[in-house]
C-alpha cells in the first residue's frame, strides 16, 4: 500500500465527500478545509507521478 497507488482513490473519495457536503448545505468552512486538503493531496500525488487522469480536472466554483 503506497500513497502513489492508493492516493488517487482516496482523492476521489475526498472529492465525492466535498460534493456531498455541498449538496447538504454543510457549513462553508468545513468544505473549505476539505478543499485545501484535496488541493494539497492532488499536488503531492502529481509530484510523485501518480496517475490522476481518471479523476479529471477540478471544478472551481465561481462568483
Amino acid at each position: 500500500m503506497t500513497l502513489k497507488q492508493n492516493g488517487p482513490a482516496a482523492l476521489a473519495r475526498m472529492e465525492q465527500a466535498l460534493e456531498l457536503l455541498d449538496a447538504c448545505d454543510a457549513p462553508g468552512e468545513v468544505g473549505a478545509n476539505l478543499d485545501l486538503a484535496i488541493c494539497r493531496l492532488r499536488e503531492l500525488l502529481q509530484r510523485r507521478g501518480a496517475s490522476l487522469a481518471a479523476l479529471g480536472p477540478r471544478r472551481v466554483a465561481g462568483f
Binding site: 457549513p27 462553508g28 468552512e29 468544505g31 473549505a32 478545509n33 478543499d35 485545501l36 488541493c39 477540478r58 472551481v60 466554483a61 465561481g62 462568483f63
Partner: protein, 157 residues
C-alpha cells in the same frame, strides 16, 4: 582586550561570574526602563534585548489564542485569517482587492480561497461586490473585521 603596554589590563578570571536567568531578565527590564528616558536612541517601549526564540514562539502561540478568542473558532484555521490579513494590509489603497490578488498574497489555491469567501462574507468579515467588470469580484474588509484586527494586532509589542 587591551594592547600590551597601554590601556587597561584584561580582568582576571576571578572577576567573572555567571548570571541567573532572573538576573539577566532584571537587567533587561532595567535597560528597557533606562531606554525610555531622555537622551536614549532607543524608542520608548522597545526592548533593548532581543527576545529569545522561545519567547517569540510563546508570543506567536499567545497571538493565535487571542486571535481565536477575538475572531472565533473559524479562525483557528490559517487560511481565512491570512485572507483577512491580506485585505487589512491593503485596506487603505484606492482599488479593492480581487480574488486573484488574495490567492497570490495568501498562497492559497483558487478553489480554497473562493470557498472561504462564503463563510467570510456570511460572517460579516468581508464584503464581496461585482466590479465594473462583472467577472471580477471586488473584496473589502468590513468595519467589524478592521476593528477586530486593530484590537488583535494592537496587542503586539
Amino acid at each position: 582586550m587591551s594592547k600590551s603596554g597601554s590601556g587597561p589590563e584584561a580582568p582576571s578570571q576571578s572577576r567573572f561570574y555567571w548570571l541567573s536567568d532572573e538576573d539577566v531578565g532584571a537587567a533587561a527590564r532595567l535597560l528597557t526602563l533606562l531606554a525610555r528616558g531622555e537622551g536614549s536612541d532607543v524608542p520608548a517601549g522597545q526592548p533593548l534585548v532581543a527576545p529569545t526564540l522561545e519567547e517569540r514562539a510563546r508570543h506567536a502561540l499567545a497571538l493565535r489564542q487571542r486571535r481565536i478568542a477575538l475572531l472565533g473558532d473559524m479562525f483557528s484555521t490559517e487560511a481565512p485569517f491570512a485572507m483577512l490579513l491580506a485585505l487589512y494590509v491593503g485596506r487603505t489603497r484606492a482599488t479593492p482587492h480581487t480574488v486573484t490578488e488574495l490567492n497570490e498574497a495568501t498562497c492559497l489555491p483558487a478553489s480554497t480561497a473562493l470557498r472561504w469567501l462564503g463563510p467570510l462574507v456570511s460572517g460579516g468579515w468581508v464584503t464581496r461586490t461585482r466590479g465594473s467588470d462583472a467577472r471580477r469580484a471586488e473584496l473589502r474588509l468590513t468595519k467589524k473585521a478592521g476593528k477586530a484586527l486593530d484590537d488583535l494586532l494592537g496587542a503586539l509589542p
